[in-house]
């Protein structure tokens, strides 16, 4: 999974990469909403065209993204089968399983199509937006909400993303060290989990402690310099396209 292109930022000098993060995330919400509201083939076709255009201008490696779709194949097929079996309707002539209806298969196909579109929308946004920009966008959107410290939330998100690879590295190291000492010969799975979990937790807490000291010594404060955003004319075009797509899906 580590080699997946999905949900990984790919640094490029493309229109979507240079967009104002706030508008990009808003467009993602609009497009996801439109995908959820889509009911017929025409709606899905419009959305697919928009997503395909976005994919083209994003300059993301399209072949890798299509190849990586195999990671979601199980989920997509599962959704298709469940829909095909659960929705009642006219049975398919000459098909051995009677509970599979034409309506069910259609709904299953549309649902799978919806899933693929949502995965692609998320991939395009995450592939063209760095975590730093995401952090700033979250901060900006949370700012008007009372009783929530936007800086604290964004710092927490930032630190979570920072600590995950550190924890995973430690897990790998500890796991290898225990394997080298024949941990497999222990039959009790709970004990084996405990052998990893306890030192991992204690190490993580120690690392967190160090991180807190490092942040404190660099004057950590919630009254921080605020991010600056710049809206380009192209951003408005992308936003208009997204609004148009939602409107068309609702009207048609």
């Amino acid at each position: 999974m580590a080699q997946m292109m999905f949900f990984h930022y790919v640094h490029k000098n493309a229109i979507l990469h240079n967009m104002d993060g706030r508008i990009k995330v808003f467009c993602m919400v609009l497009m996801s909403l439109a995908t959820s509201l889509a009911v017929n083939v025409l709606d899905f076709t419009i959305l697919t065209c928009v997503v395909f255009m976005a994919l083209l201008v994003s300059k993301l490696p399209m072949i890798s993204l299509v190849k990586d779709m195999k990671f979601f194949m199980f989920l997509i097929i599962f959704v298709f089968i469940m829909n095909s079996l659960s929705i009642k309707g006219e049975p398919i002539p000459n098909f051995p399983i009677k509970s599979v209806s034409i309506e069910g298969v259609t709904a299953g196909l549309l649902f799978a199509w919806r899933l693929i579109l949502i995965i692609m929308i998320c991939s395009i946004v995450t592939g063209t937006t760095s975590l730093l920009v995401f952090k700033k966008v979250i901060e900006w959107y949370l700012r008007p909400i009372p009783f929530i410290s936007e800086t604290r939330v964004s710092t927490m998100i930032n630190l979570t993303f920072l600590l995950i690879p550190v924890i995973l590295d430690q897990y790998t190291e500890m796991s290898n060290a225990q394997t080298a000492r024949c941990v497999e010969s222990r039959k009790n799975p709970i004990k084996r989990v405990m052998f990893i979990a306890v030192p991992l937790l204690s190490n993580t807490l120690r690392k967190t402690d160090e991180l807190i000291y490092a942040m404190e010594s660099r004057c950590y404060s919630e009254e921080r310099t605020r991010a600056l955003f710049k809206v380009n004319p192209l951003d408005w075009i992308v936003l208009t396209t997204s609004i148009l797509a939602v409107t068309l899906v609702i009207i048609l």
Partner: protein, 249 residues
């Protein structure tokens, strides 16, 4: 007037362990001080009092004649601290973002933050890595990044806690050159280490902490002969003069 003064500094942990006891010290501007001591001698606990990361049980720390407790943010601006584990002090997802962390905490205008980041990265020679993930840098580069993060806050004193731990030979040379450059530029340098052979040739003063007490404080050439008494290995060829110990050609 000393830039840093420590008076009767004592720290006792809640379980009763005495980490440091009655430490008195004065450091003049532009000095290059090495603080040595065996593992668990109290070196790290001591330096964490210098910018108020730990509060003493007894005693005071003064920077520019002002107690640090009076203005802790000011103390942290004046004393930059480079921790032993570079990985655990990285808070940004890119090199640039990590360096910007300090100035942003000071709520400086974005253009000032950018200027400081640019300048700090240039000072340590990491400007070409600005948009990279800090975790992919080499050990020496990570220490340089930590230095850049500290420089962006314009400190007068820079404290290095075990700066050579875990580095290969080129990494050590890289960090050592960086420390010397900072000293040349007028910063007061405090290096905490037990690897004296790597840095002592460049220091003005050697301090040894043993079992929480400051036991030696003087010219490196005067103190080095006693170091092994306190569990700090005396470098080979130290008898030929500490200035010959340099790792730089």
């Amino acid at each position: 007037m000393p830039i840093l003064e420590v008076q009767h500094l004592t720290h006792i942990f809640p379980d009763g362990t005495v980490a440091i006891e009655d430490i008195n010290l004065k450091i003049e501007p532009r000095e290059f001080v090495v603080i040595a001591g065996s593992n668990g001698s109290g070196k790290t606990v001591f330096i964490r009092h210098l910018n108020g990361l730990l509060s003493p049980t007894k005693g005071k720390v003064f920077i520019d004649d002002e107690p640090i407790v009076k203005n802790i943010v000011n103390a942290r601006k004046k004393i930059g601290m480079i921790f032993q584990d570079s990985d655990s002090q990285i808070v940004g997802q890119t090199v640039k973002e990590d360096v910007a962390f300090g100035p942003e905490n000071l709520n400086l205008p974005p253009e000032d933050v950018d200027r400081l980041v640019q300048k700090s990265l240039q000072s340590v020679g990491l400007e070409e890595y600005a948009t990279q993930d800090p975790h992919v840098l080499s050990g020496g580069q990570k220490r340089k990044l930590a230095v850049a993060g500290v420089l962006a806050m314009k400190p007068k004193i820079i404290v290095f806690d075990e700066p050579f731990t875990g580095l290969d030979y080129p990494g050590i040379v890289q960090v050592l050159k960086q420390i010397l450059l900072l000293h040349e530029k007028g910063h007061t340098i405090i290096v905490v280490t037990h690897e004296l052979e790597k840095v002592l040739a460049h220091a003005n003063r050697l301090i040894i902490i043993h079992k929480g007490k400051l036991v030696e404080n003087g010219l490196p050439s005067d103190v080095i002969g006693n170091s092994e008494r306190y569990g700090v290995k005396m470098p080979l060829r130290a008898n030929e003069g500490v200035e010959t110990l340099t790792w730089l050609k």
